[in-house]
């Protein structure tokens, strides 16, 4: 076995170790340790990606001495390696860009606890990406939930604690349903490993045995994960959680945490229940309808909002609606579009949150639009970055958002039954996006005599650098989309 095959396991364990050791360190040391770990994980994930591309097939890694149906297993392919690399990159950039804010808003004595949360969050994301076992997935979903809660409430104001409570309640509902689904699936198939469940579910679906429990199970797992990733009717906790937490947390939560659950759902669709069974069951139509509703309702709420951070948070609701709509369309092309949108949204949303915090800093700390007028001139790099993010969200060519919208439209055209509603909603949602993002961009570039001082780029070099990296990532996704899409297609074909 090649030594690189050890890397997925090593990266998960390394993150956990980082978390454990950070609890004995001071804030500064924990920060450096965390940066080191993130870099190592990124390198390892890149190695895994390269290795799987080279060999052209995925590999499984036995956690312990015992092979397939008895022991735990993790599995890595192109999509897993790519996702892990992408997640760690976004995390590095978000943390670097939000570092100054972090120092301001977090109690220095509790700084090391923040980095414990970050480390364990990354470990759980990696485990969700790599896992090949449903119960392991459940355990790490819990770690993910608790650490995300810690990220929200590390900035201790009344609002964040209330938001954390709401988040925990909704998440616990979701995990309860997910666990119930897993237990029922275990009861019907007798396995917890994805491949074995898949084989047994195929047999059950063909023979028609346990038809009703199987449908209920699929429904519970889908709804549970949808609740956890804030699909439209379950999104009530989201605006507060993203709007008031410290900026790195908001960026990480919006771009990574919900995406981890979505990736798990993708794995369950492909590797546990099976593509044909899950679309034969029509359960995904629920996801489709909720996704469409979310696309419109999220945008409408965002238009009404008077606070820039909350506006971006509501825009997340709409974007998660896009992803679920892609799952609901039920074709391979649509799923590719969804996965691409996961990447594109993660890159764009963290950019928006962080640049918005730069704009807010240039407006005396007020998040109201009236105070933000002309802030694009006062903090130039943040203004440019926000415009790039906004244009990408609206779907201008050259940026990543355009490609994902194009892919969604293509996928919709090929699905005759759902073509019309999808295209109509896509168009309406794009217009709504344009309304609230262009409104903001125009506002931040309206010249005005302001009492707030100009923030020169020199003073925030790290922030500027991170912004440039984010913009580059966004443009890369927009321009080299062929490469990325090919990677996603290869990865999905390895799933089956």
């Amino acid at each position: 076995m090649n030594f690189i095959c050890n890397f997925p396991c090593f990266s998960i364990v390394l993150c956990i170790f980082g978390g454990i050791i950070s609890s004995a360190l001071k804030g500064r040391a924990a920060k450096y340790l965390n940066a080191f770990i993130l870099a190592v994980v990124a390198v390892m994930s890149a190695c895994v990606l390269g290795y799987t591309l080279q060999t052209g097939e995925s590999f499984t890694y036995v956690m312990g001495r015992f092979p397939a149906p008895w022991g735990n297993e993790i599995r890595a392919g192109v999509l897993e390696g790519g996702m892990a690399l992408f997640f760690s990159l976004i995390m590095i950039l978000s943390l670097f860009a939000g570092r100054e804010k972090l120092n301001e808003e977090v109690d220095p004595e509790k700084m090391n606890l923040y980095f414990i949360m970050i480390n364990l969050l990354l470990s759980s994301l990696l485990a969700l990406v790599y896992t090949n076992d449903l119960f392991t997935a459940y355990v790490f979903v819990e770690i993910n939930t608790i650490s995300a809660c810690g990220l929200i409430m590390i900035r201790q104001t009344g609002r964040t604690i209330e938001a954390a409570t709401r988040y925990m309640i909704m998440s616990l509902l979701g995990s309860g349903m997910l666990l119930m689904g897993i237990c029922m699936l275990y009861d019907m198939t007798g396995h917890l490993l994805m491949e074995n469940i898949h084989a047994n579910v195929q047999i059950l679906a063909e023979s028609g045995q346990y038809h009703i429990p199987l449908m209920v199970t699929i429904g519970m797992i889908c709804v549970g994960l949808a609740i956890k990733s804030a699909l439209f009717p379950f999104h009530t906790w989201l605006p507060d959680a993203y709007g008031y937490s410290t900026v790195s947390s908001a960026a990480i939560l919006s771009s990574l945490v919900s995406k981890g659950y979505i990736f798990l759902l993708l794995k369950i669709i492909y590797r546990v229940v099976g593509f044909d069974v899950i679309y034969g069951s029509r359960v995904t139509d629920i996801l489709f309808v909720f996704g469409l509703a979310g696309m419109i309702m999220g945008s409408l709420s965002a238009i009404k909002e008077n606070d820039i951070r909350r506006m971006i948070a509501f825009s997340s609701v709409a974007q998660i609606g896009y992803i679920y709509m892609g799952f609901g369309l039920g074709t391979q092309v649509a799923v590719v579009a969804s996965v691409f949108h996961i990447l594109s949204h993660a890159a764009t949303k963290s950019l928006l949150f962080i640049s918005a915090s730069g704009l807010v800093d240039a407006s005396g700390g007020s998040k109201k639009f009236i105070d933000l007028t002309g802030s694009g001139y006062r903090n130039k790099i943040a203004g440019v970055a926000f415009s790039v993010g906004a244009l990408s969200m609206v779907g201008l060519p050259l940026f990543s958002g355009f490609i994902s919208k194009l892919l969604f439209a293509q996928a919709a055209v090929r699905n005759s039954g759902k073509m019309l509603p999808t295209l109509i909603v896509l168009a309406i949602s794009t217009i709504l996006n344009a309304i609230y993002f262009m409104k903001t961009v125009i506002r931040i570039y309206t010249p005005v005599e302001s009492e707030y001082p100009v923030i020169p780029v020199k003073r925030h070099k790290v922030f500027g650098l991170a912004m440039v990296c984010f913009i580059a990532l966004n443009v890369f996704l927009g321009l080299c989309s062929d490469l990325v899409i090919r990677l996603i297609e290869t990865g999905l074909s390895m799933f089956a």
Binding site: V139, G158, I161, G176, M180, C183, Y186
Partner: protein, 124 residues
């Protein structure tokens, strides 16, 4: 309705408890009751699993006198899973309770609706 409802009475009770816990967690306004509801929901799932591992007339999977025949012991997997789950639910409970304490410190109530109204009244 399937044929196995009466013979699966244990699971049926587990499902009823799950429903009660779920709606307590979702609809109760008092945070402490919400947390109790969460615990009920979790234990219901564990009860379901434990029922599924049980096999009539067999004993706990602790090997006695070196007798390793399958016919003698129940299925060990659900027990292991539940063991993992119990620890998860106690840590989540502790976290939720500490959130409750902090919320009470700040807003002097454990009613989540009242807290939201207060927040709206305060404006953002």
């Amino acid at each position: 309705m399937g044929a196995n409802l009466l013979s699966n009475y244990g699971e049926a009770v587990a499902m009823i408890l799950f429903g009660i816990g779920f709606s307590n967690l979702l609809f109760q306004r008092n945070l402490i009751k919400k947390i109790i509801g969460m615990n009920i929901m979790d234990t219901a799932i564990y009860l379901f699993l434990a029922e599924k591992g049980y096999i009539a007339g067999r004993i706990a999977p602790i090997i006695i006198d070196g007798d390793q025949s399958v016919e003698r012991y129940i299925n060990p997997i659900p027990s292991g899973l539940v063991l993992t789950g119990i620890v998860v639910s106690v840590s989540v409970t502790a976290l939720m309770l500490s959130l409750t304490i902090r919320l009470y410190q700040r807003y002097h109530t454990v009613d989540l609706d009242k807290i939201s109204t207060m927040l709206q009244k305060e404006g953002r």
